[in-house]
Amino acid sequence: MTTDQVILWQWKFISLNYTIIYTWGVMIFLTIFSALITRNLSEDINMSRWQNLLEIIVFGIENQIMEISLQNPRKYISFIGTLFIFISISNLLIIIPGYYPPTASLSTTAALALCVFVAVPVYGISEIGFIGYLKNYTRPSVFNLPFNIIGDISRTLALAVRLFGNIMSGNKVVAIMLSIAPLIFPVFIQLLGILTGLVQAYIFAVLAMVYIASATRIQRKT
């Protein structure tokens, strides 16, 4: 059903499947790409076009974070920017034949959602303190405590399943179209898949930022 089940190499209980290989592939690609560009940066106006590309991406993400959280974006860009770039690149690379997006497997998306689940209290505690963060759970009244806890867990589940469902269903529809009308139509479905992949990456990053912003915002007593 997923790329988890295509096992390339196995030794005792360690096995390499497509998900692990393509995840590491995307990571190595991103790392080498950025390392090569940032090796010689220039501060004046005569910069390389690749540096210009990276600056556009970073400034775009910074602006979005600033508009959503109304705080200094430098604290969050390392986490939110990494989420957005990793998910969007791993979704966009489906234009390469033979590539299966690692986000079409529930294990990858669950790991990303768990990162958000851990990052929210970490940022919240570092920003407003342990007591202040715990007090957030009892707003607007003490009776909301169980609902806030349930909400924390269910939104993590929703993050994981939403990304997984969108990407996996895109792949499935392409496979079904290949068996029905294999000439041109799968190309259009894949174009739609690229669009939804980018939108889902954006939504994942924005939702993570919204959750972090709601945990770090200092609540005024009314």
Partner: protein, 92 residues
């Protein structure tokens, strides 16, 4: 009708029903949200960026109910635990 065919029939019918019924409400909800957002954008073009961003986030929230239905019907078709159990029992 034995256990195997009964489970197969019920799984297939329920997979279709799940995605059919489960996509009605999110479709109506998304239509309402998009219509309202377009109207607001027409009235206040300056706020189009903010409205579009919040629209995307809201659409993702609404859409996730449909995605849950899709995942359930996919599980029923491709990775049905009851079907696997019955097949394993029959093989013994």
């Amino acid at each position: 009708m034995g256990d195997i065919s009964l489970i197969g029939v019920v799984s297939i019918i329920m997979a279709g029903l799940t995605i059919a019924v489960g996509s009605i409400a999110p479709a109506l909800g998304e239509a309402k949200a998009v219509a309202q957002a377009l109207q607001s954008m027409a009235q206040q073009p300056d706020e189009a960026n903010t409205i579009a961003r919040n629209l995307f986030v809201g659409l993702a929230m609404i859409e996730s109910t449909a995605i849950y239905c899709l995942v359930v019907s996919m599980i029923l078709i491709f990775a049905n635990p009851f079907w696997n159990y019955v097949i394993a029992q029959a093989a013994k």
